[in-house]
């Protein structure tokens, strides 16, 4: 391809514009066509032109040249951390350079927008720098709908990033996902903490009904966290509870002292109710065995089983008590989950604790420094029950929706420590990858979260994300809103089960 950079200058005195074209060849784009006859400036046109215009054109021309050479030369300047610096596993970055993908375009569709999009793009930049491929990430707030439309219509991106494994399984069963290479499952088993469970979560039945490994987990979120303001605890003389019994005692003590212990908000537009499903899942893990949890998620244990109803009522013990919740139990279903943590930072505090996943600090008031102004502790387990320390989490599944050499190579890149470390060194990234250097965490709170993840006796994936969409992203949500509004737990559970029966 021939790249032409137009330069314009003025012949003083006669007031005419002379447009001169220089052909410039960029090796990366292949051989120039028609450049053979090029022999110096070619005069194209004459007309009136001012000095400003000329300067402007020169500026544009040089800007264009810069942009082109940056694209062609893969300058390292746009990488967040210069290769070779810091505690990163740079060998894995160097190893990537063995793949030459220049000219390949890989499209990635994911759920991240805004600042999260910049983060994921900062990781992708390393893949581009090492291989020469062009990766276009685009985020969508309606990812769930868009990926279905795109795959059905045949315009799927190379790689899709699913926030919920349930949707990935759905697309796999319709034959829209390409199975990962055979050795990927083994790699995950060996290199991820609790590897087998990550393989299981990424293994779905294909169109032919045979299970295969489709989904690769990259970026994990931790859900079993309780956020609090350490200085409010100090002022009131409270200690961080180590067990569920202590947490309940603390809740009562705060009420006795005239305070309000919890801020809970379930509002989330069309997804209203989902924060309650996390509560119930956490309570399931703290009252029943992991085996029961798995059976519940696959509906071998019915939704209206007394064990599940008991877990829902455990949540109700917190959320349906007027004295326990800021604004009273009636406010739980109507408060937006994004606004609900604000009460902790009010003066005087409207509540002392907020149970939410690791992402919530982005909704704290501006300037809140996690670790100083706010902190978190593990949502504790019952000391009296022998269930260890269960942890609830979620994660994003990356799967190939349109197979190509580039897509395969990109999945290979996600295995490399550097892909994890670049995001870790910035913010909000947890990983089960055992081969990464945790020394790159700049944020002690995230390191603390990763500790919770690694110290867990049981790790379970967000159940509602694994249930069929009509339940996990439908009646479970609305049922929890009904329950928070005062409906009987058994009644709610029975209606959720009846929906589940109807879609089998």
């Amino acid at each position: 391809m021939l790249n032409v950079v137009a330069l314009t200058y003025r012949l003083t005195g006669i007031g005419i514009r002379v447009t001169v074209r220089h052909s410039k060849r960029f090796g990366k784009f292949g051989d120039p066509q028609g450049a053979a006859g090029y022999s110096g400036p070619i005069i194209i046109g004459f007309d009136e032109m001012s000095w400003e215009d000329i300067m402007k054109n020169v500026f544009y021309a040089s800007a264009a040249t810069l942009a082109l050479s940056a694209g062609a030369g893969f300058a390292d300047g746009h990488l967040k951390f210069a290769p070779g610096d810091g505690a990163f596993t740079w060998e894995s970055f160097e190893a990537l350079k063995s793949m030459d993908l220049s000219g390949e375009t890989i499209t990635v569709l994911g759920p991240w927008l805004g600042p999260d999009k910049e983060l994921v793009e900062s990781v992708i930049a390393y893949f581009e720098a090492a291989t020469g491929a062009d990766v276009q990430y685009s985020g969508s707030d309606s990812f769930e709908q868009q990926i279905v439309i795109d795959t059905e219509a045949g315009s799927a991106p190379s790689i899709a990033v699913f926030p919920q494994p349930g949707l990935a399984a759905d697309l796999a069963s319709k034959g829209y996902l390409s199975a990962l290479p055979d050795d990927t499952a083994d790699w995950v088993r060996d290199n991820y903490a609790a590897g087998q469970s990550w393989v299981d979560l990424g293994t779905y039945a294909g169109k032919d009904g045979n299970p295969a490994h489709y989904g690769f987990f990259y970026k994990v979120d931790l859900k079993s966290l309780v956020w609090y303001v350490p200085e409010n605890f100090e002022d009131a003389g409270y200690d961080v509870p180590q067990s569920m019994e202590e947490l309940k005692a603390l809740t009562d003590q705060i009420v006795d002292d005239g305070g309000v212990p919890w801020c809970i908000g379930l509002g989330s537009g069309g997804a209203t109710g989902w924060p309650a499903t996390d509560w119930v899942e956490d309570m399931m893990l703290r009252t029943q065995t992991p085996a029961d949890y798995d059976a519940w998620v696959s509906n071998d244990l019915k939704f209206d089983d007394p064990k599940v109803i008991a877990a829902i009522e455990e949540f109700g013990a917190f959320a349906r008590n007027d004295a326990y919740v800021s604004g009273g139990a009636g406010a739980v279903a109507t408060t937006d989950f994004r606004d609900s943590p604000q009460g902790m930072f009010a003066s005087p505090p409207q509540c002392y604790m907020h149970r939410q996943a690791s992402f919530i600090p982005s909704f704290f008031p501006e300037g809140t420094e996690v670790g100083v102004d706010a902190d978190f502790f593990y949502f504790p387990a019952y000391e009296g029950k022998d269930l260890g320390k269960p942890v609830l989490g979620a994660g994003t599944v990356w799967a190939i929706t349109s197979d190509s050499k580039g897509a395969q190579a990109f999945m290979e890149f996600l295995k490399s420590p550097i892909a994890h470390e670049v995001w870790m060194a910035q913010t909000g990234f947890l990983t089960p990858h055992k081969g990464v250097n945790t020394g790159v965490y700049t944020d002690p709170t995230v390191a603390k979260m990763n500790d919770i993840l690694l110290n867990a006796d049981t790790f379970r994936f967000d159940g509602s994300d694994l249930m069929p969409g009509a339940v996990g992203a439908g009646v479970f949500w609305t049922g929890m809103v009904d329950y928070a509004g005062g409906k009987d737990a058994a009644e709610v559970a029975a209606s959720i089960q009846s929906t589940w029966d109807s879609i089998k």
């Binding site: 499209t107 059905e152 003066s347």
Partner: protein, 377 residues
């Protein structure tokens, strides 16, 4: 007298209720406008109606870190100011979250650890330590302060100067202008044919068009996109123009046909008698007379395409040269939404162009109405 009084009272009632309705109608917009000038924390902690007056609120500020203390005599002192530059007056302060309003400005509070804290009414504070303090976590100061209304232009700055916003505006125009002109053109021809050209099955055709109005466009996404990809159109501007044209046509044909049917038949008859062809009648008579209907449909279509996000997401690619303004704004809202201040500001930014279009077309609308009188024709 009685009659007249009754009438004027009635007029008053009508005017009043109209004014009330307008007020009711406009309140959400006013709220949005005010919200667009507030920052996120203000929006999430108080309603927009409180934004216009000075308010007393409790604020938590952190003093400078103990490590910054400077020796003064045999004391170590930190001095600074809370709520710097906001013109606030402190009415009470406290040093623990349990009693955030325990002291009056000028009083000296003694912390459990021994240091003494004073906050003045103008926000200046002074913390005295007996020994050299250490640590990086500053003392929290709980202040009750009278705060004048505070507004910010940051939201607009963020929306207007977001990376790629200019490019997106161009992309939106690239989508919108052809997607408005094409359906108006096609629908005008079709509407004339359906209104004034005798042909068998005309009523059925009109019924079919009305029937199409009921079909939600969402059901057509996947088949239409499949078709576009099948014929090699792919995702791109041509595809979205065709899609918008298709989605807009039923309403356009229906509106224009109903309008054209109402035009006086005598003019068309006499033109026919004079030997005008159908195309001449359409061009010389129908088109000028239909200007108000064309203009109002153009406004409809323009607004709908301008505000559209869904169709653009489906039929356009995701590259930098194809992201429309609505898509860019959604990007700004973040992965979990909830950035209300950005939403409010971008609503007013994106409203600017449609308002301009509306007012510039409104002129034609009035002219077209005048041209529609039989005698003038």
């Amino acid at each position: 007298m009685d009659m007249a009084g009754g009438k004027s009272r009635l007029t008053w009632a009508v005017n009043l209720s109209a004014a009330l309705l307008v007020l009711l109608w406009i309140i959400p917009t006013v709220g949005l406008l005010i919200s667009s000038f507030r920052d996120r924390d203000a929006i999430s902690t108080s309603g927009w109606w409180t934004a216009l007056s000075a308010s007393e609120k409790n604020v938590i500020e952190r003093a400078l870190a103990p490590g910054e203390a400077k020796p003064e005599g045999d004391l170590w002192v930190i001095e600074g100011k809370v709520l710097e530059g906001q013109g606030t007056t402190v009415t009470a302060f406290g040093i623990t979250s349990k009693e955030p309003e325990a002291f009056s400005p000028g009083d000296t509070a003694t912390h459990a650890r021994g240091h003494k804290i004073t906050v003045q009414a103008d926000g200046r504070y002074r913390i005295e330590y007996a020994e050299e303090p250490s640590g990086s976590r500053g003392q929290r100061l709980f202040v009750r302060a009278e705060t004048p209304p505070g507004f910010t232009l940051d939201n607009y700055r963020e929306v207007l100067f977001a990376e790629g916003m200019g490019r997106s505006l161009l992309n939106t125009l690239t989508v919108t202008i052809p997607a408005t002109i094409i359906p108006v053109l096609v629908a005008a021809f079709a509407a004339y044919a359906l209104a004034w050209m005798e042909m068998p099955g005309r009523a059925l055709l009109v019924a079919a068009v009305v029937g199409l109005l009921v079909v939600p466009l969402q059901v057509a996404f996947i088949p239409l996109l499949k078709l576009h990809i099948g014929v090699g159109l792919g995702k791109g501007y041509l595809g979205i123009w065709l899609a918008h044209t298709g989605f807009g046509l039923p309403l356009a044909v229906f509106l224009l046909r109903n309008y054209m049917v109402g035009l006086p038949g005598e003019i068309i008859e006499s033109a026919r008698v004079d030997g005008a062809t159908d195309f001449q009648i359409f061009r010389r008579i129908i088109l000028p007379l239909s200007f108000p209907a064309l203009a109002s449909f153009a406004i409809f279509q323009f607004l709908w395409v301008w505000n559209d996000l869904l169709v653009a997401k489906v039929f356009l690619g995701t590259g930098e040269d194809q992201v429309v303004m609505t898509g860019r704004i959604v990007d700004l809202l973040g992965s979990r939404g909830g950035d209300w201040e950005i939403l409010a500001a971008s609503a007013f930014v994106s409203i600017a162009v449609p308002i301009f279009v509306f007012f510039s077309l409104q002129r034609y609308l009035v002219r077209g109405l005048l041209a529609g009188s039989v005698k003038g024709g």
